[in-house]
C-alpha cells in the first residue's frame, strides 16, 4: 500500500526534517505546539507533493511550503507578551557549553523573535538561513525593497524588546 511516491516523500522528509524543526522553533514555544506544527507541515507538504516537480531543490520547496503553513496557522493570533517558559527539551543541548551569559542572551533573543508577527518570523527564519533578499521577497510575495525595509524594522524592534528587558 505504501506507494513509491510515499516512500520517496518520506525518505526526503526524513533527511530534511531539520528545516521543519527550525521553523517550529521560531513559531512555537513548547513541545506540544512544536509537534502539532510539525505534523501540520508534514500533512501540507504531502498534500502538495504531487505538485513538486523537482525543478527546485526539495529543501527549498519544503521550507517554502512549511513557512506558508506556519504563517497561515499563526495568522492573526496574538503573540504572547509575557515571556514564554523555556522548554529545555527543545533547546539546544549545546547551550550548556556556552557561558551562562550567552545562554541567557540566546534565550531572550528567541523569546523576542517569538513575539514577532507571523510574517516577521518568516523573514527572520530566512535571514538566519542566509537566503538573499530576492528569494525572501519572492517567497513572501513582496518587493525586494519592502523586504529590506521590513528586515530593518524587525532588527530595531528586537533591539527595543531586548533593551526593555535590559538584556542588551
Amino acid at each position: 500500500m505504501t506507494t513509491d511516491l510515499e516512500q520517496e516523500f518520506v525518505t526526503l522528509l526524513e533527511d530534511n526534517q531539520n528545516i521543519l524543526h527550525k521553523i517550529c522553533k521560531l513559531y512555537t514555544s513548547d513541545l506540544d505546539a512544536h509537534q502539532d506544527l510539525f505534523q501540520e507541515m508534514v500533512i501540507q507538504l504531502w498534500k502538495s507533493y504531487p505538485k513538486f516537480k523537482g525543478d527546485a531543490k526539495f529543501s527549498t520547496w519544503a521550507y517554502r511550503v512549511s513557512l506558508n503553513t506556519a504563517i497561515s496557522l499563526y495568522r492573526g493570533k496574538k503573540t504572547k507578551i509575557e515571556t514564554v517558559d523555556w522548554d529545555y527539551s527543545l533547546s539546544n543541548i549545546r547551550y550548556e557549553e556556552y557561558s551562562s551569559e550567552t545562554e541567557d542572551q540566546l534565550k531572550h533573543l528567541y523569546d523576542a523573535v517569538r513575539q514577532l508577527n507571523d510574517i516577521d518570523k518568516a523573514l527572520v527564519y530566512m535571514y538566519l538561513e542566509e537566503k538573499d533578499y530576492t528569494e525572501i521577497a519572492e517567497t513572501l510575495g513582496i518587493s525586494e525593497v519592502n523586504a529590506r525595509v521590513k528586515m530593518n524594522r524587525i532588527k530595531s524592534k528586537l533591539k527595543l524588546m531586548l533593551a526593555k528587558k535590559g538584556v542588551v
Binding site: 518520506v10 524543526h21 533573543l109 523573535v113
Partner: protein, 215 residues
C-alpha cells in the same frame, strides 16, 4: 554586534532536534482520519442547528390554533425531547472520537477509534431513519383521529384507513429514501475515506511488525 547576527552564529549549530523517523512521518500522513472525523462532527452539529431553527420557526410562525389532542401533544413533545437527547449524545460521541483520534499516538488505538466512529455513524443514520418511521406513524394516527369518524360507516372508515396507510407509507418511504441518499452522499463518503485510511494503517502495522521480526 547585531542581535540577529548573534543569533545567526548559533543558529547553524542548532541541529539537535528530536528525530522523527520514517514510521512516524508515515503515520502523520495518515492522520487525516482526524480531519475526516472533524467533518463528521461538524456536519452533525450543523444538522442539529438547522433542526432547531426549523422547529422554532414552525413554533413561532404557526398561526393556526392548536387543536391537537392533549395526548398527541405529549407524544410529539416527548419524541422531540428524546430525539434531541439522542442527537446531543451522537454529537458528543463524534466530538470525543475526534479528540481521541487527534491525540492517538499508536496505530492500534487509531484503528479501534476509526472502527468505533464508523459504528457510531451507522447508528446515527439508523436512529434518524427510526425517527422518521415513528414520526410518520404518529402523523398517521393523528390524521385519522382528527376526522369525525364517529359519524362514518364502518366501510367508510376501512376505506379511509387503507387509503391513509398507503399514502403515509409512500410518504415515509420517500422520506427515508431522501434521507438515505443524503447520508450516502455525505456520511458514507466520509466513512469510505476512513475505511481507506484504515486499510493503509493495517498495512503499515503489518510492515512494522515484519520489520521488528527481521531485526
Amino acid at each position: 554586534m547585531d542581535e540577529l547576527d548573534f543569533l545567526k552564529q548559533h543558529w547553524q549549530n542548532d541541529q539537535e532536534f528530536p528525530k522523527v523517523n520514517k514510521e512516524e512521518i508515515r503515520r502523520m500522513l495518515h492522520k487525516s482520519s482526524s480531519s475526516i472525523v472533524k467533518w463528521i462532527f461538524l456536519i452533525s452539529v450543523i444538522e442539529l442547528l438547522i433542526g432547531i431553527v426549523l422547529n422554532s420557526w414552525f413554533y413561532f410562525f404557526d398561526k393556526e390554533p392548536h387543536t391537537d389532542h392533549f395526548i398527541f401533544q405529549i407524544f410529539s413533545n416527548s419524541i422531540d425531547v428524546i430525539a434531541y437527547f439522542f442527537i446531543l449524545y451522537f454529537i458528543y460521541t463524534f466530538f470525543s472520537s475526534y479528540k481521541k483520534i487527534k491525540n492517538t499516538k499508536s496505530t492500534k488505538e487509531l484503528l479501534s477509534d476509526i472502527l468505533i466512529t464508523r459504528k457510531t455513524v451507522h447508528n446515527y443514520i439508523r436512529f434518524n431513519i427510526y425517527l422518521i418511521i415513528v414520526s410518520v406513524a404518529l402523523a398517521t394516527v393523528k390524521i385519522f383521529f382528527e376526522r369525525q369518524t364517529e359519524i362514518w360507516s364502518t366501510g367508510h372508515i376501512i376505506m379511509f384507513l387503507t387509503f391513509l396507510i398507503i399514502v403515509m407509507f409512500i410518504v415515509g418511504w420517500v422520506c427515508i429514501a431522501v434521507v438515505k441518499l443524503y447520508y450516502r452522499l455525505i456520511y458514507i463518503r466520509l466513512v469510505k475515506k476512513l475505511d481507506k485510511n484504515y486499510e493503509e494503517l493495517i498495512k503499515l502495522d503489518e510492515d512494522e511488525g515484519r520489520e521488528i521480526l527481521v531485526e
